[in-house]
């Protein structure tokens, strides 16, 4: 007996036979090697049975010799199923296409909104964004993450202090805080100028207010330098004191520098791999070759894919491998000492304001301890020591 499942695969036909000698007809079929099953008799000279689809043409020959008529009254099995599916494939393709379109549209940028920026700044931001690819119709998974966009924007446009980047669904929202223009700082409250640290006054430029100290005076932290109260006794007036008071101040810094150091420098070569991630399973999409670098840094950028308004448990991941090079640096004691001094100066300059200058430096102590150089340096700095202090007016 043959397997029913194989019959399903090759397809079968239900046949109705009418005429005298149905039994003879079945015998003839068997002799011709036609496999017959589920034979049922309906009355005197009508029978139904199943045959394989591939035997249909052979049975036609048998029918011609016998005096029976056959009718095909049913069909089942895979070939018919396939034919039906092909006929209905339009629907299926349509559904797939629809889902793909919705999926793609859900992952696009549809709105770029900038708030809190003046028209010219807004225009510049839009231009920068366009350069980065952030515009209507861009695919989100090809863009940089919001944090990177934020950093690039603040770096490239100097008129903005801060920009908040938020990706809400398919819309980018930018909240811009522009730098205050100097003109606007007119309406200041009445105030004194006080010393921000211990210093010896070297120079004074008072624009408004009553100076209480003079050059070469030694001042302590918090001491009033320029008073906001002017006028003779009895006719005093409160003004916002303004001006710059330069004083000599002192800083001490300690620099520790190892004589031998190994660090990794990027060579500029890189390669990218792209993955689609489902939970912990990641399917490579692009970039199948091995990373050709001996030393490299990896950067992973994950972007959630969304469908309609839902986030799918699906991620688009871009992995960037950047080649690094090992660089060995070794200083002699003298070099290290010089370098430490430079570093100390740079560090201090970074801390100081622009109008400050380093007048002198003095090495207090320099020592070599287990492979490192330790240098203590004392700096003389001339800087603006005035900071405003509001006057609290009593009744």
């Amino acid at each position: 007996m043959k397997n029913k499942w194989l019959n399903f695969l090759s397809g079968s036909v239900k046949v109705k036979v009418q005429g005298r000698g149905v039994e003879r007809f079945i015998n003839a079929c068997l002799r011709n090697g036609i496999f017959v099953w589920n034979v049922k008799k309906h009355g005197e000279d009508v029978a139904t049975f199943f045959i394989l689809l591939k035997d249909v043409s052979r049975m036609r020959v048998v029918v011609r010799k016998s005096g029976c008529k056959i009718f095909f009254i049913g069909k089942s099995g895979l070939p018919f199923l396939v034919r039906k599916t092909v006929a209905n494939s339009g629907f299926f393709i349509g559904i797939c296409l629809f889902l793909t379109v919705v999926f793609l549209l859900s992952n696009m940028v549809w709105n770029v909104r900038i708030q809190g920026a003046k028209p010219e700044t807004e225009y510049r931001i839009l231009k920068e964004l366009k350069q980065m690819g952030v515009e209507k119709g861009a695919f989100q998974f090809l863009l940089d993450p919001p944090e990177t966009i934020q950093k690039k924007l603040t770096d490239r446009i100097e008129t903005i202090t801060w920009v908040g980047v938020e990706l809400k669904g398919t819309a980018f929202y930018f909240q811009v805080v522009e730098k205050k223009q100097p003109k606007e700082s007119e309406a200041v409250n009445v105030r004194h100028l006080v010393a921000k640290k211990k210093a010896v006054i070297t120079d004074m430029f008072v624009e408004e207010g009553q100076p209480l100290v003079s050059v070469h005076d030694h001042v302590t932290k918090g001491q009033i330098l320029v008073s906001g109260i002017i006028g003779k006794e009895g006719q005093t007036k409160f003004v916002p004191a303004r001006g710059k008071i330069f004083g000599e101040t002192w800083y001490k810094s300690t620099v520790i520098l190892p004589l031998d150091a190994i660090f990794y420098v990027l060579t500029g070569k890189y390669m990218e791999k792209h993955y689609i991630k489902i939970k912990s399973l990641s399917i490579p999409v692009w970039g199948f070759q091995k990373v050709p670098f001996a030393h490299y840094e990896t950067e992973r950028r994950k972007q959630a894919l969304r469908f309609w308004k839902w986030e799918l448990p699906l991620f688009y991941e871009r992995v960037i491998y950047r080649e690094t090079e090992e660089v060995k640096r070794s200083y002699s004691w003298n070099e290290a000492f010089q370098k430490a001094k430079e570093i100390g100066k740079e560090e201090l300059e970074a801390k100081l304001e622009e109008d400050a200058s380093i007048k002198g430096e003095k090495v207090l102590h320099a020592a070599k301890e287990n492979g490192k150089v330790r240098v203590e340096i004392y700096y003389e700095v001339v800087e603006n020591i005035a900071i405003p202090q509001p006057i609290v007016q009593g009744d």
């Binding site: 149905v22 079945i26 496999f35």
Partner: protein, 95 residues
């Protein structure tokens, strides 16, 4: 003459060598499962079939199966599996 002699030889062989009868003598082997299935091997073709009766040609004579709701589940040149409610299995000799 020769046919009869051959029959006798076969019968003798079967008895002496203990060979199965259906192979040596071309007899049908009938397997029944309760009264719902009947499986007949070594038939020589279908003579009549209805939902109450099945008549098969054998090498010698005929086999008549009576019952109700007969369906031939499978039929091959020498085998047949009949399903239904079987009441009787009758041998008809026609020589």
């Amino acid at each position: 003459m020769v046919k009869k002699w051959r029959q006798q030889v076969r019968s003798w062989l079967m008895n002496q060598l203990e060979l199965p009868a259906d192979i040596v003598m071309d007899l049908p082997r009938i397997t029944m499962i309760g009264h719902i299935h009947i499986y007949i091997e070594n038939h020589r073709g279908l003579l009549t079939f209805s939902d109450k009766e099945l008549r098969l040609l054998l090498k010698q004579g005929q086999l008549l199966v009576r019952g109700e709701q007969f369906v031939i589940k499978t039929i091959l040149p020498e085998e047949i599996l009949l399903e239904g409610k079987i009441h009787q299995v009758i041998y008809l000799d026609n020589d």
